[in-house]
């Protein structure tokens, strides 16, 4: 007994083995993480693998590409079957950029007012904007289709850009307002005491501070605008259709056989830039998304 006590005090305590319950718990977390990872990446990986397969082996179903070829990426841009994917890519950039720029320009002002100024009817305004974000697009489809037919706008960019702006605006305003609300008040106060007008304070102090938020919002607005399909399907022509419509109606040489490898190549081309943006700005995008979603 006594020798035992001496031994124990003489030697530093041996490192405790990690208890099984803890090991099991961390094992479970990693297993869960793996499932989530496969969930996020699996189908996307399958799209890329298929895009790299020789069309003759479309349904090979091996987990890696067999008969690797880049021909599909060329086929995606082949205009001989009425597909105009290259042009559609350009159209999406035009529609997405125009929507984002205008929505940000007018959204920033409203967001600033809602986050920083007190005025009568403030809650009415924010309620109106919130309800607009929940408004079903499909209700507007018929009257917009009629109106744009009357105006001769069908097949012109503005027929898609103007409705898109309004659909992206509520999100833009909410995300920016939640960012503005978090900026320190003292800076603006100090500027005001130093004699800056409210507009100067907004332009010189708040706007530069909000630049990262504006950038994040721009990415989110752009992704949302590029994603739009329902209106584009009705309001675009062959010349103005965006990638969503182009990918949806993509066809090949045989009308009975879908050219899936080319479609997956087209999908990959559309998705890769968006995925890169998402990976680069992951943190900001998550905070932007949750700001718009939870705090409203």
């Amino acid at each position: 007994m006594s020798t035992n006590v001496i031994e124990q005090t003489a030697n530093p305590p041996a490192p405790q083995p990690v208890p099984w319950s803890k090991r099991l718990a961390s094992g479970r977390v990693y297993l869960g993480a793996l499932i989530v990872l496969v969930w996020g990446l699996g189908p996307f990986y399958w799209m890329v693998v298929t895009a790299l397969r020789d069309p003759a082996y479309t349904f090979d179903n091996t987990p890696w590409p067999t008969h690797v070829t880049f021909e599909n990426f060329r086929n995606a841009f082949d205009t001989s079957r009425g597909n105009n994917f290259g042009r559609a890519l350009g159209n999406s950039v035009i529609i997405g950029t125009a929507t984002t720029v205008v929505a940000l320009l007018i959204g920033i002002m409203a967001a600033y007012a809602l986050a920083r100024l007190t005025f009568k009817g403030k809650y009415l305004v924010s309620g109106l904007i919130l309800s607009a974000s929940m408004f079903p697009v499909v209700v507007l489809v018929t009257p917009l289709f009629q109106l744009f037919t009357d105006l001769g706008w069908i097949g012109h960019y503005q027929a898609m850009i103007i409705p898109n702006i309004s659909f992206v605006l509520p999100m833009t305003v909410y995300i920016l307002a939640s960012f503005f609300a978090e900026l320190p008040w003292e800076l603006e106060e100090a500027a005001r005491i130093d004699g800056a007008s409210r507009f100067q304070a907004f332009r010189l102090i708040m706007l530069p501070l909000a630049a990262p938020a504006v950038f994040t919002t721009a990415i989110l607005a752009f992704i949302a605008a590029v994603n739009e399909y329902l209106l584009a399907r009705l309001l675009s022509s062959d010349k103005t259709e965006p990638v969503t419509v182009a990918v949806a109606r993509f066809s090949g040489n045989n009308p009975l056989v879908q050219p899936y490898t080319a479609i997956m190549a087209a999908g990959t081309i559309v998705t890769i830039p968006l995925v890169i943006m998402v990976l680069l700005f992951q943190r900001r995008i998550i905070s932007g998304l949750t700001a718009g979603g939870v705090k409203s």
């Binding site: 869960g32 993480a33 989530v36 990872l37 969930w39 996020g40 990446l41 189908p43 399958w46 799209m47 298929t50 349904f59 179903n61 007018i106 002002m109 409203a110 007012a113 007190t118 005025f119 305004v125 109106l128 904007i129 607009a132 499909v138 507007l140 489809v141 018929t142 009257p143 917009l144 289709f145 009629q146 103007i162 309004s166 605006l169 409210r198 590029v226 399909y229 329902l230 009705l234 990638v243 969503t244 419509v245 990918v247 949806a248 899936y260 479609i263 997956m264 999908g267 998705t271 968006l274 995925v275 998402v278 992951q282 943190r283 998550i286 998304l289 949750t290 979603g293 939870v294 409203s296």
Partner: protein
Amino acid sequence: MGVSARAWVFVTPVLLALAVVIGYPVVRALIMSFQKDSGLDKATGMFVEGGGAGFSNYTHWLLEQCTNSLGETVDCPTGNLGSQFWTAIGVTLLFTVVTVALEATIGLGMAVIMGKTFKGRALLRAAVLIPWAIPTAVTARLWEFMFQYDGVVNRLFGTHILWTADPWPARFAVIAADVWKTTPFMALLILAGLQVIPEDVYEAARVDGASAWQRFWNITMPLLKPALLVAVLFRTMDALRMYDLPAIMTQSNPATRTISMLVVDQVRQGPNSASALSVITFLLIFTVAFFLVKVLGANAVRTQEEQREAH
């Protein structure tokens, strides 16, 4: 200029934009829905320019009634879009209930995993954003491809199912694609709600000897409820207007035709009766939103107040 006036200058452009693209069309849709579609008069065979329709555009959908060649009101024949109204309502509600339930449950699980601290957590959160970033039209083609007869889904599970053609498999396919795409977004919203819960509440419960399950049900769930309800409300609104996935994945399969698809299919055939259908759609979505906010939302506010009192 006073602060209030200046604030109105700041918000006016947004309100104007919303009024032009949402306010005006809504009014116009209402007016259109009470007018006859121009076309050949079934009774006389002459071209007519419309005129007042009363509620006939509404009864066309709600009672599935059409006008036959003699000008009589009869049940819409199979194949006519009018005969698909209640099916479309059923499909839309089915999609909404099933996808939102699955997305909330799986999203909660994902959020719990993503909230743990482990190596590679940032990578996981980035990976989860990928389904969200892919445009829905591309997602639709991707899952349509995976659900082909010779596709990877049948191969993985050793099945021989016509996923996009048969009614229930087609519905399952659309639901699977939607759940894949939107669950991560739901998970991020829930995660944001989880991170607001202070760690010391758990610590106290642990000291008091609460098990993991008890902590989850008695702490996490009640405190998470407001965030969860907002997420559910947003997703429900989205699911009720579902269009892209079924329209592209299963095209004209009536088993997956949602109300939004019915409206779009009707627009070119008769814009005025399509307007009536969009008004009905709006009322349906408004009712569901009102119900969610009133019944569940009020509950969420009460939960928050109870918590504040408890502290």
